[in-house]
């Protein structure tokens, strides 16, 4: 394999180095490149058919040790009953969960099952275990696989057919995407978070603006983000249409990974870090496109419409509709052009999802909940991203802050982000949610979602309305 560190003349981007190092067979005029996959993550919803096709064709999983599975999408977030049973929503969800257990057992795949200490949202546990590493190619049957790009990996979502391709061959047929540099220089103001950064990026690019591209986030504002914040940014790359978002690995990355259960250890660690230091884009490397942002100009963001590109600074007015699509969105949301969202009453607050369910997100939310109560008539649901995060939050007493405030503290899972497990909005309800999608019905049929940061979500929970969290701190 080509060494990612080897100078090959032309300066290369982070993406190009990883792409080049994983080419099993280059593209020809008639066939796409064959790309090697270092790690496939599996969950219960997009994998059953893939395993079924393997069985039909009598195929094995080629590299089970490069495959890690968990359960998150259709799993309950309510605790076990007094009888020890896990309260799965319905027979279909139970069958899907049982099928993943069977598939992992039959094909020899590591499974972090419901009820185990390693269970959690697939994009939370990969980094937590240290299986997500710089320079890797990582895929999963889930569009938020872009999260893992925060480590300087090329990570993207695939469909179930492609899940079966990787299970059977550890490879994918791929067209080479174009590159888009998002450069953010300067310092964020207090109260402006990673979630606000990515919502501002998506608002400018539009929900389809990154289609066909891999994004590399760069600049001093990105460099100064923690790994958890970088994951929040990369996570929502797909909401601008980009399959992957990446950030060059640096000391922040290595400090996060050091000592994690599946990270390299000892001399192997030293070798790995030396190789990873060669991954950042070379000076003079060029991108197909670039967009620049001034970090100091960014404000806390919130969405007003029915896709994540419909976002505005929280103190700004809702834009006037400019066609059938935005008219439909505002009608669905029950909003009018030119109105302010501040003070808009809400029914539900959801803090969780692969975007914002990590310990730093929970700490931020707790900073608002502490000494306050959830407003009358509001339901606040707080769902940690993994069982390990849940345990850590409880060790720090965050669960007590949430419970004392009157919020609901749950088991780990995707929960109300995708609303497959019974955690959902009722028709017409308004939610402020730290998740990633405000599509019609995404959080429950007829439900209406405002996407925002954990700070903004917590502020809405304690005031019962959309609130600029900077007024509470």
């Amino acid at each position: 394999m080509a060494d990612a560190n080897k100078p090959v003349g032309k300066p290369r981007t982070l993406f190009e180095k990883i792409w080049d190092a994983h080419i099993v067979r280059p593209a020809t005029a008639d066939t796409p490149a064959i790309l090697y996959v270092d790690l496939q993550l599996i969950h219960e919803v997009t994998s059953p058919q893939a395993f079924g096709w393997l069985r039909e064709r009598g195929l094995e999983v080629r590299r089970p040790e490069r495959t890690v599975a968990t359960m998150d999408h259709s799993t309950p977030t309510t605790p076990r009953g007094s009888d020890g049973r896990i309260p799965v929503l319905d027979n279909a969800a139970a069958a899907q969960i049982a099928q993943l257990e069977t598939n992992c057992r039959d094909f020899g795949i590591e499974l972090h099952a419901l009820g185990s200490e390693g269970q959690g949202i697939v994009h939370v546990i990969g980094p937590e275990l240290g299986v997500t590493q710089p320079g890797m190619t990582i895929v999963c049957g889930d569009s938020h696989t872009s999260t893992h790009g925060a480590f300087g990996a090329l990570a993207f979502g695939i469909g179930t057919s492609e899940v079966s391709h990787v299970l059977a061959t550890q490879c994918l047929l791929q067209q080479k995407p174009r590159t888009l540099a998002i450069t953010i220089e300067g310092t964020l103001h207090p109260g402006v978070t990673a979630k606000d950064v990515i919502l501002a990026v998506i608002a400018r690019l539009g929900i389809g603006g990154g289609t066909g591209h891999v994004i590399e986030y760069r600049g001093s504002a990105i460099r100064s983000l923690s790994m958890e914040e970088r994951m929040t940014v990369c996570n929502m790359s797909i909401e601008a249409g980009a399959r992957a978002g990446m950030i060059a690995p640096d000391d922040t990355t290595f400090e996060y990974l050091a000592g994690r259960p599946r990270a390299p250890q000892g001399a192997e660690w030293e070798r790995a870090v030396a190789a990873w230091r060669g991954l950042p884009s070379d000076a003079g490397a060029t991108y197909d496109r670039e967009e620049r942002f001034d970090a100091a100009a960014l404000e806390p963001m919130i969405t007003y419409g029915t896709n994540p590109g419909m976002g505005i600074p929280i103190r700004a007015a809702v834009p006037m509709p400019d066609g059938a699509t935005t008219e439909k969105a505002l009608k669905y949301m029950g909003l009018t052009g030119n109105q302010s969202l501040l003070g808009h009453p809400i029914d539900v607050v959801f803090i969780g999802s692969c975007t914002n369910s990590r310990i730093s997100d929970l700490r931020q939310a707790a900073s608002i909940f502490k000494g306050r109560k959830v407003a009358a008539g509001v339901r606040a649901l707080i769902v940690p991203g993994s069982q390990r995060i849940k345990k850590q939050a409880e060790a720090e007493g965050l669960d007590k802050i949430f419970r004392d405030a009157g919020a609901d503290w749950r088991e780990a899972g995707c929960s109300m982000c995708i609303a497959m497990n019974g955690d959902q909005l009722k028709p017409g309800q308004y939610a402020v949610s730290t998740s990633n999608r405000n599509f019609e019905g995404r959080q429950g049929t007829g439900g209406r979602t405002f996407l925002a940061s954990p700070l903004t979500a917590a502020a809405a929970a304690v005031t019962g309305k959309i609130t600029d969290a900077r007024e509470l701190t």
Partner: protein
């Protein structure tokens, strides 16, 4: 997968931009372990009311839409989640082609693997198609053309390998399995260089 060579069909027009996969097939229908039967759930929240009755104002419920194989949609069709259930639902319903000014990457990949042709056209032609629901069109994958009744013809792009697979009704997995020697050699060379 059913091969596609030529489609002759009326169009169904859904003039909404950014139709996401949650609209195409809501998440609550993703709990199956097979891909069968999703056509009934296609566009479920737009197609049925809370009681499960068909909404008469939704385009798929109109008599003139029945049997059409070509969907004309607004810009950026198929954005959002990677669920392959979206093309499964469209194909199970009876669609064989989706036409837009842009189609989301993951949806496009998934569509091509399921006998659903993603067709990107110029905005002028797109406007004509949007303005003329029920128009008769002919799609030739062999020629990579979309032809209107008046003879107006537009060429569209399809990845050559995906086109080959669609024309012949074969899937990509066989091709990847046949690359075993190259895959093994790649793994061996990485082992030797300690990566």
């Amino acid at each position: 997968m059913e091969p596609i060579k030529t489609l002759v069909s009326r169009t169904v027009v859904l003039p909404i931009d950014n139709v996401d996969t949650d609209q195409i097939i809501p998440a609550r229908f993703l709990k199956g372990t097979t891909k069968n039967g999703l056509g009934e759930k296609l566009f479920s929240d737009w197609r049925y009311d809370a009681q499960g009755n068909r909404k008469t104002d939704f385009v798929l419920n109109r008599p003139e839409s029945q049997g059409a194989q070509v969907l004309i949609a607004g810009d950026n069709f198929g954005c959002g989640s990677s669920r392959e259930h979206a093309p499964w639902a469209l194909v199970d319903y009876g669609f064989r082609a989706v036409v837009s000014t842009s189609i989301a990457d993951i949806f496009r990949n998934n569509a091509l693997k399921n006998g659903l042709l993603p067709i990107v056209v110029e905005s002028a032609l797109h406007r004509r198609l949007l303005a003329d629901p029920g128009a008769s069109v002919t799609v030739s994958l062999e020629d990579q053309t979309l032809r209107l009744a008046d003879g107006t013809t537009a060429r569209f792009a399809v990845e050559p390998f995906a086109r080959y697979c669609l024309l012949n009704g074969v899937d990509e997995l066989a091709f990847l399995l046949a690359a075993e020697a190259d895959i093994a050699a790649f793994e061996k060379s990485r082992q030797e260089t300690g990566r």
